[in-house]
Structure formats: structure tokens, C-alpha cells
């Protein structure tokens, strides 16, 4: 793994506006985000020779390369499992560049979830065969599937709704500092949280991420090339994917220990190949499709012991100035839900020193992809 450690860097980030509804197509949004990221990096589109995105990305490499006038591509990759794929798109590019398969890589995600159809409303997509064990009983939406683990975590460890509120509040407070966030200037209070409607008990409205239209992209090059780019390089220090033994996506109920999910597997590899430990992390961008994923991830990535993920959130630990400032652009809960790609770009901004909720002197950032599904993670440093 010495070949990957700090061998590549993110040198450009770009995004479209985020909104419940954007008029342009996903393809157009993807093109805008990629061009913005290349412009940020100061790299011409025809120098791009690698692309990576999610299997759920409907704007494919052929369309992107053709529309943007990219050069010959020598590497392209797609990562599965929805939000679990975010960090792995960067990791795949880093690996390709570090091993000489390409020189300039772009990762992106474009999604019209805000104005598009809600997946759970489409009966046909409710019925793939793996769902035969869950969906007939009305376990229909991701919120229902994750709420099952959240309830068990509460039962075993005394995790409370106040702990989940701490997560929602930290994300909302940071979004209130970020003019690009959907929840900018929309504060959250404990009363609003506790009185909000249930989605799937024990998860309420504010435990759920936003539904957003938008696109984001980032540019990855070798560390050597990065030194000549226009921006401070943000190095890919370590990267990992995680699909634990006997895992079952979203409903990780059938292994020995359902509360140790994919985060634990990714974390072991991530730290093993890093010069850093959890104590060295200045700021974290942790995948937050649901607040309940944060305690599970804090445990999985080793910021606290098993069962202490809820208690970790107490005393402002996730706020600016706290033990682990979290999701400093507002995250999926309050900035935008674009399958976690905004967590990557915010990690880059923190290490450039340009976040709207800047952690002073931030030099290291953990970014994670979706917990509860086969996942991925990045350790970024400057």
C-alpha cells in the first residue's frame, strides 16, 4: 500500500447549485460540475484520461467524455451500492493513477432525487428477489431498514433520541453557515426535532437526509503533478472499501453481529495503511443518510468504543470546536443529499482552509461513504 499513501491528490472540486428542483438534466448537471472541478484545478478537459462514478450514476462515461471533449480514456470505473460508493470513486482513480494506468482522473455524481421519482413509490423496484425477505412485511424504505438497527442500538447501549438530535443539530448548524446548503438560514431546535412527525419509529423527519437535485465532481492527479496545480493539493493518504463477511445490503441482520457493519471492515484497512490514528483526525465528514448511521460509524472508525457512539455526541463533540467537528458543510442531512459526494468536496475545502465552517488549522479529514451497505472511506491530508 505504500504505492497509494499520499501518491495522489485531489486538486479540483466543482458543484452545481443544490435545490429541491433544478431545470437541467442530470447529464447537463454532471457536465457543469466536472467543468467546474477542472477549472478549479486549472486542467484542460482534453487532459482527462480516467473517469469514476457510481453504478447508480445514469450519466455514463461515453456521454460525459463526448459532451466535454475529453481525451482518450485509459481507465474508467463504476462503484456499486449507492451511497456506499462515494469514496471508492476517488480511491479507484487514485489507484489507477498511482499505478500508471492514467494521469488525470475525474469522479462525479449527478442526481435529481429532489424532483425525481421516490424509489419506494415504484412498486416494481420494491420487488427484486433479495427483498422477498423484507418488503412483503412493509419494511419498504431505507429509513425502515436502518431504523431496525437504530432501535437495537438504543436497546443495547442506551442510545437516545437526544443523541440522534445532537447529530441532526451539528449538521444543521454547519448548514446554517453555508450559503450553498439547502438548509441555510433554517435553524433547527430540540423542540422542532422532538415534535416532528415520525418516518419510521424510532426515526423522525429530522433523522432523514434531504432529497436534492445537484451534481459534484473532483479531479485527482499524481502528487507530483499536483504540485504544479493552482490549488493546495489535498492528498489521498489512505483509502478502503468494506464489505464484511455475511453482509446483506441495507438489512445487515443475518450475520453474527449486525451492529458492526461495513464501517468496521473499511476502517481496519483504512487505519492499517495510514500514518494516522483516529486521535489525529481534525474534522470528519461521515455519511449521514440517517442520523443513526453516525453512532454506528463513530464506533466502526474507532473514535469511541463499541456502544459509545451515542454518548460520544454529547457535550457538543460534533460541533465546531468539539472533539470531532462533523459534516461541516451540513452533510446529507442539511446541505444536500447527493449520495455523499458533497462530503468529499467539503473534506477538500477543510484541508484547503476554505470551508464556511472552517476548523482552524485542519490538516486531516476522514470522509466516509454509506454505512449499512458495502462502503468506502478516504483519509485526506494536506
Amino acid at each position: 500500500m505504500a504505492v497509494l499513501k499520499d501518491a495522489t491528490a485531489i486538486v479540483g472540486i466543482g458543484q452545481t447549485p443544490f435545490a429541491k428542483r433544478l431545470p437541467e438534466s442530470e447529464r447537463a448537471l454532471a457536465c457543469r460540475a466536472i467543468l467546474a472541478a477542472l477549472d478549479d484545478a486549472g486542467i484542460a478537459p482534453d487532459e482527462v484520461d480516467a473517469l469514476a462514478s457510481y453504478t447508480m450514476e445514469e450519466t455514463d462515461e461515453v456521454e460525459v467524455a463526448k459532451a466535454l471533449g475529453l481525451g482518450d480514456l485509459t481507465f474508467f470505473s463504476k462503484v456499486g451500492y449507492g451511497g456506499g460508493g462515494s469514496c471508492a470513486t476517488v480511491a479507484h482513480l487514485a489507484a489507477a493513477i498511482a499505478t500508471g494506468q492514467a494521469t488525470v482522473g475525474v469522479a462525479w455524481r449527478s442526481r435529481k432525487r429532489g424532483s425525481g421519482p421516490r424509489p419506494w413509490k415504484n412498486t416494481a423496484v420494491q420487488l427484486p428477489t433479495p427483498a422477498q425477505w423484507t418488503r412483503p412485511y412493509g419494511l419498504l424504505r431505507p429509513a425502515d431498514e436502518i431504523a431496525m438497527l437504530a432501535r437495537r442500538h438504543m436497546h443495547e447501549y442506551g442510545t437516545t433520541r437526544d443523541h440522534l438530535f445532537n447529530v441532526a443539530l451539528a449538521c444543521r448548524n454547519r448548514a446554517n453557515q453555508n450559503p450553498a446548503a439547502i438548509m441555510y438560514e433554517r435553524p433547527l431546535t430540540r423542540e422542532m426535532y422532538m415534535n416532528s412527525r415520525w418516518i419510521s419509529e424510532p426515526l423522525c423527519l429530522f433523522d432523514n437526509c434531504l432529497e436534492t437535485d445537484g451534481a459534484l465532481a473532483c479531479v485527482v492527479v499524481s502528487a507530483e503533478r499536483a504540485r504544479d496545480c493552482r490549488r493546495t493539493p489535498v492528498y489521498v493518504h489512505s483509502a478502503a472499501q468494506g464489505l464484511p463477511a455475511q453482509h446483506h445490503g441495507m438489512v445487515n441482520y443475518w450475520n453474527d453481529d449486525p451492529l458492526t457493519g461495513p464501517a468496521w471492515t473499511a476502517a481496519r484497512h483504512l487505519w492499517k495503511h495510514a500514518d494516522l490514528t483516529p486521535d489525529d483526525i481534525d474534522v470528519a465528514q461521515i455519511y449521514d443518510a440517517f442520523t443513526a448511521l453516525i453512532p454506528l460509524s463513530l464506533e466502526g472508525y474507532g473514535f469511541c468504543a463499541r456502544g459509545e457512539g451515542g454518548a460520544f455526541t454529547e457535550g457538543g463533540a460534533l460541533e465546531t470546536g468539539g472533539r470531532l467537528p462533523l459534516n461541516t458543510s451540513g452533510g446529507g442531512l442539511s446541505e444536500a443529499y447527493v449520495h455523499g459526494f458533497n462530503l468529499i468536496t467539503e473534506g477538500v475545502r477543510q484541508l484547503r482552509g476554505t470551508s464556511t465552517a472552517q476548523v482552524p488549522g485542519a490538516a486531516t479529514c476522514l470522509v466516509t461513504a454509506g454505512e449499512g451497505v458495502p462502503t468506502s472511506a478516504l483519509l485526506l491530508r494536506n
Binding site: R118, W120, K121, T123, Q126, L127, P128, T129, P130, A131, Q132, W133, T134, R135, P136, Y137, G138, L139, L140, R141, A143, D144, A147, M148, L149, R151, R152, H155, R197, W198, I199, S200, E201, P202, Q246, H248, V251, Y253, W254, N255, D256
Partner: protein, 138 residues
């Protein structure tokens, strides 16, 4: 309501359930149970399988109460209980189901205050062959 879309591996489970039997796939060589069903034993890699009848008793491992927005058939009965039941005679084999007052009862037929993690439950079968769960001590 959604009905199970069955694959080759899962079909025997549903065929037994339609006859009122709860059976779990087991390895015919090493004997280990596995769920969900799959073609190969993850313990010894044997492809020889059998379907072992289990007692149909368990405990609630966790549960959720979905509220709308939901598919219309489910919204009409919401909030209801979806339970994850750990089988008494097969630790780590857990089945998703509903806690109901009896076979073919509505999904919301058990009051919220009656459910707790650890509660003992017994399997019942709907007329369409779906395993469901009732409290041992209602």
C-alpha cells in the same frame, strides 16, 4: 400488498410456508443453518442442502413502526410493527415479519405498548402463506 418475488434458492422456504411449515435451509454435509437461502454453504462450501423444520418460536430482536408516506396498502394500516425475530432454536437466524394479533390480522392489530425487544413470539401463517408472529403471552 407486496408478495414475495421468489428465486430458485428461496422457493422452498415459501413452498413450505404455504403448507404452514417454517423451514430453514441447512447444509446437508456440515449441518449449519443459513439464511437467506443460497446455493452454497458458507461454512464448508457444500452444495448439498436440506430444509430443516424449526419450532417457530423466537424473540423480538428489534422492531420498527413505519409511518406514511408508504405504498398505499401499507399506508392504510400504518403505523404497524415490523419485527426482526431471532429463532429460539437457531441463534443468528433472524426473520423479518409483522407482530400481529393472529393469522390474517391487520398489520396494526397489536397495540404499540405491547411490543418490546426480547418478547417471546410464535409463528403463524397467513392464508397467503406468509409467516407472521404473535405474542406468546398476548
Amino acid at each position: 400488498m407486496l408478495t414475495p418475488v421468489v428465486d430458485d434458492d428461496g422457493a422452498p422456504f415459501w413452498e413450505y410456508a404455504a403448507r404452514g411449515e417454517l423451514r430453514i435451509q441447512a447444509c446437508a454435509d456440515c449441518g449449519e443453518l443459513r439464511f437467506p437461502p443460497r446455493p452454497c454453504c458458507p461454512h464448508c462450501r457444500s452444495f448439498a442442502t436440506e430444509w430443516r423444520r424449526v419450532a417457530g418460536r423466537g424473540r423480538v430482536w428489534s422492531y420498527v413502526r413505519p409511518h406514511p408516506p408508504l405504498l398505499p396498502d401499507y399506508a392504510e394500516q400504518a403505523p404497524y410493527h415490523v419485527v426482526l425475530v431471532e429463532l429460539t432454536d437457531a441463534p443468528r437466524i433472524r426473520l423479518v415479519g409483522n407482530l400481529v394479533s393472529g393469522p390474517d390480522a391487520r398489520l396494526d392489530s397489536v397495540p404499540a405498548e405491547r411490543i418490546r425487544i426480547g418478547a417471546r413470539v410464535q409463528v403463524v401463517f397467513t392464508s397467503t402463506g406468509l409467516p407472521q408472529w404473535v405474542l406468546e403471552r398476548p
